[in-house]
């Protein structure tokens, strides 16, 4: 018989040798697989749970496997053969469970869901099979009592030093990342990295911290005997990993969500109010050429240069306007170029860009200053142009930086926002898409100008008939020679009809952000899911641990430990370690979110996001989870069937 066949046979025997243990592992994985197949949103959590359970099952030093490994070793088997028998055992349990659970899930999907959902379910099963096969290949655990030699002490000190260095570097990196988050794009990149670093730090710190907590409790007289039991075994890193990840994620979502929910939705409300305002005064209309086309690059686009009107076109339009609105004054706009704007639209209000360097990328076009515009806008030009992103798209001409000299007569968005925040009155007109930055003629010497539009100013409010005639003029020129010609009336765009070009772009409410639990129900759901994942992992781990340590418990009880002490030790150990893990995770998360929010508010002071702690959710995770874990541990630590095994040979591990 080949070594492979022998290892496979031994692996199969190991599965059968502990049916309860194998069944618990298999049922958990099968359940997780079935759930992950049926519910795509739960797939990641289910796969994580399956991996955690398989790692615990594979790495836990169960007596049968230790005996098997020792026997094989004495019989001359190499490390590879011993490893392979363990790997085969884990693989059999994991794959059979995945296939069974997957089959159940796929049957349910086949009957009730779409073809795409079915394919997603198959993908989950394949991922499970692949990932669990990798986990099954972990090394076989063997007892190694650590003799405290000098070399080992030096190595241990070096290890501690390395861990401290990793933690410090990770903390600094996380602080730096959290301070730099400004947009969803930042959050998607930096946030994921922060969570990864959080889990690494949590994993490194919570191990020694938990041990310290257990040892410290041993100084309290009433806990001495219990700690004597508890201190002998530590919570596996796998379990700590799952808890750290679950608690960290839930806390991040909860704190961010509560903070966003507490933020006044001023920007969104203001946009909604402005969108309801008239665009222009009742006696004004704006006829102009819009950019020809948009040149797209990456995720945002550049308007091409707006074409200017030729002399004959201008004259033709003038004559037509005079016929449509007798007595109306035409105020030509001498444009100095065109603006760069985001793909979202031509709003003068900031829009959230998906491009990190362009937020906002929104300034109005520049024109030669004209005193007649006072009658259009109703006030002097005194608001400066945003300077952050403007670029004059004149490839052949190098002129002055217009953003430093351009001024507009329309209150800037920041000024309106500040007024709105302090309860001040809103302007009566929005001038949406009708904002121009005026530059004194002497400052624009040498720059090319074009007439790309004109205000039509009537001495009296424009009647519906006049507006209809102006609309007809614009439409006629559009059809004949100027397809980009548009007309904006007092109440918005008239040509093209129904177009939204002159509407205020309403910014999305942060409360709809997918990355934050912005309702109390969502926060509780997150906390509940995190607690459930942590407790299920804990339950499975404790159960496996109890099965694997039954001889240890027997030994303890034979030399004088009471069942109550065994239960108390498990409960206190679990509670302490869960508390340390959840407190540290929550502390790190809360600190980072606070730093991130403060940095964001400092950089974007317009509408600050308050730092709000959802205390109930955090308390559930930091106190409720340890309490539930302790109760669970006490329940599982010493099941009744342990009693019935007291006549077995207890010499296995000695």
């Amino acid at each position: 018989m080949s070594a492979f066949a022998a290892a496979a046979r031994e692996g199969t025997r190991l599965v059968r040798s502990s049916p309860t243990r194998s069944a618990i592992v298999a049922v958990t994985i099968a359940g997780a697989t079935a759930l992950g197949v049926c519910e795509a949103s739960a797939a990641v959590g289910c796969v994580a749970l399956s991996i955690a359970v398989t790692v615990v099952a594979r790495r836990s030093p169960r007596p049968e496997r230790v005996m098997s490994a020792n026997a094989w070793s004495r019989a001359g088997a190499g490390r590879f053969a011993i490893w392979m028998s363990g790997a085969v055992e884990a693989l059999i349990v994991a794959w059979v469970a995945v296939l069974a659970g997957g089959l159940v899930g796929l049957v349910v999907l086949y009957a009730s869901a779409t073809h795409a959902a079915f394919n997603e379910g198959v993908t989950v099963v394949l991922w499970q099979l692949g990932l669990l096969a990798i986990v099954a290949c972990l090394p076989t655990t063997r007892f190694r009592a650590s003799k405290r030699t000098r070399t080992r002490r030096v190595m241990s000190a070096a290890g501690v030093g390395a861990r401290v260095a990793i933690v410090v570097c990770a903390l600094l990196l996380m602080l730096s990342l959290a301070s730099g988050i400004r947009t969803d794009f930042d959050l998607s990149l930096a946030g994921a990295l922060i969570v990864l670093l959080l889990v690494i730090v949590g994993l490194i710190v919570t191990g020694p911290a938990s041990n310290w907590a257990v040892d410290t409790l041993g100084n309290v007289p009433i806990f001495r005997s219990i700690v004597a039991i508890a201190a002998r075994h530590r919570t596996p890193a796998t379990v700590r990993f799952v808890i750290v990840a679950a608690v960290s994620l839930a806390t991040v979502f909860a704190v961010l969500g509560a903070s966003v929910q507490a933020r006044p939705d001023t920007q969104h409300l203001l946009d909604e109010r402005l969108a309801r305002l008239p665009v222009l005064p009742p006696n004004i209309a704006l006829m102009r050429l819009n950019p020809e086309a948009e040149a797209t690059s990456f995720s945002f686009s550049f308007p091409a240069f707006a074409p200017g009107l030729t002399g004959s076109e201008l004259n033709g339009i003038r004559v037509a306007i005079a016929r449509a609105a007798p007595g109306a004054e035409v105020i030509e706009l001498h444009s100095l170029g065109e603006r760069i704007t985001t793909k979202v639209g031509t709003s003068r209000y900031p829009v959230t860009s998906t491009f990190p360097g362009c937020n906002p990328c929104d300034v109005g076009p520049y024109i030669i200053a004209d005193a007649r515009l006072r009658d259009v806008y109703g006030g002097p030009a005194r608001y400066t142009a945003p300077s952050s992103t403007y670029q004059l798209l004149s490839p052949d001409v190098v002129g002055p930086d217009l953003s430093t000299i351009g001024v507009t007569r329309v209150p800037t968005e920041d000024a309106i926002l500040q007024t709105f925040r302090h309860g001040g009155p809103l302007p009566s007109l929005s001038f949406a898409d009708a904002v121009y930055y005026e530059v004194p003629a002497k400052s624009a010497v040498g720059l090319p100008t074009t007439i790309s539009g004109m205000f039509v100013r009537s001495p009296k409010p424009l009647t519906d008939a006049q507006l209809a005639r102006l609309e007809a003029v614009a439409r006629e020129f559009r059809e004949n020679s100027l397809p980009q010609l548009t007309l904006i009336g007092p109440r918005g765009s008239l040509v093209p009809l129904g177009a939204q070009v002159a509407q205020v772009a309403i910014s999305a409410s942060l409360r709809q952000a997918p990355w934050a639990a912005t309702s109390a129900a969502a926060r509780w759901a997150w906390a509940g899911v995190a607690a459930l994942i942590a407790l299920v992992t804990l339950l499975v781990t404790l159960t496996i641990d109890t099965i694997d340590r039954r001889r240890d418990v027997e030994r303890l009880e034979r030399i004088g430990a009471t069942p109550h002490q065994v239960r108390s030790a498990a409960a206190i150990q679990t509670a302490l370690q869960l508390a340390v893990v959840s407190w540290l995770s929550a502390l790190l998360v809360v600190g980072l979110v606070k730093v991130g929010i403060d940095a964001f508010n400092h950089a974007e002071p317009t509408i600050p996001v308050p730092f709000t702690m959802p205390w109930a959710v955090v308390l559930l995770l930091t106190f409720g989870l340890p309490a539930a874990g302790a109760a669970l541990a006490a329940l599982v630590a010493r099941p009744a069937w342990l009693e019935s095994r007291s006549n077995e040979n207890p010499a296995a591990l000695s």
């Binding site: 009592a145 001495r224 005997s225 591990l653």
Partner: protein, 239 residues
Amino acid sequence: MLRLVRVTKRYPDGPGMITALDAVDVEVGDGAFVAVMGPSGSGKTTLALIAAGVESPTSGEVWIDELDVAHARKAKRAVLRRQKVGVVFQSGELDPLLSAVENVALPLRLDGWRAARAGAAAREALCRCAVEGLASRFPGELSGGQRQRVAVARAVVGERRLVVADEPTASVDTATARAIVELLASLAADGVGVLMTTHDSRLAGFADEVVVLRDGARVQAAGPTVGHGRHDRWEEANL
């Protein structure tokens, strides 16, 4: 000190019951060394476990000092084992992850002793069993005999006055077995009551009294012995 009165133990065996012990009487006084002999399956281990309070008899009485162990709660019996009765098992049953001194100190730690005080008492017990040099070693680094000596040290650590040793020499060579039994005899000489099960008549010769079991029933008792080499009678008892 230890008194077993008409102790009977039955285990379920398929549809019926199997009798492991049948109305056995044994008494171990302070400083007495009593050996229980018998072939495999005769009930020696069951007797030892009942004497140590690990298991309860189906009927009969087990008295340790003034405590009725047979009817005591499990927790009470556990307290008894860590305060008054030390147990030595066939293969030592040491925790492989604890050093020798930590293993010996464990019963005291379970009893709420401070770690330092328990450690000092454990070192004293190791010294008493002549293995003080092995204090920092782990069970995996000890020979079978050394492990058993450490197990004996764990059984006598603190203020125990009774040691129940279940086949303590089962897995060691003859010389080591003899040394371990001599150690138990020396404990008895110091006033500790010792109940030892064995199937080796030569080792039983060290005991003050020998109880012979067959099929769960006591067939013969002899003693007290007067020293070494008095094992002929036990061999004659069909062992």
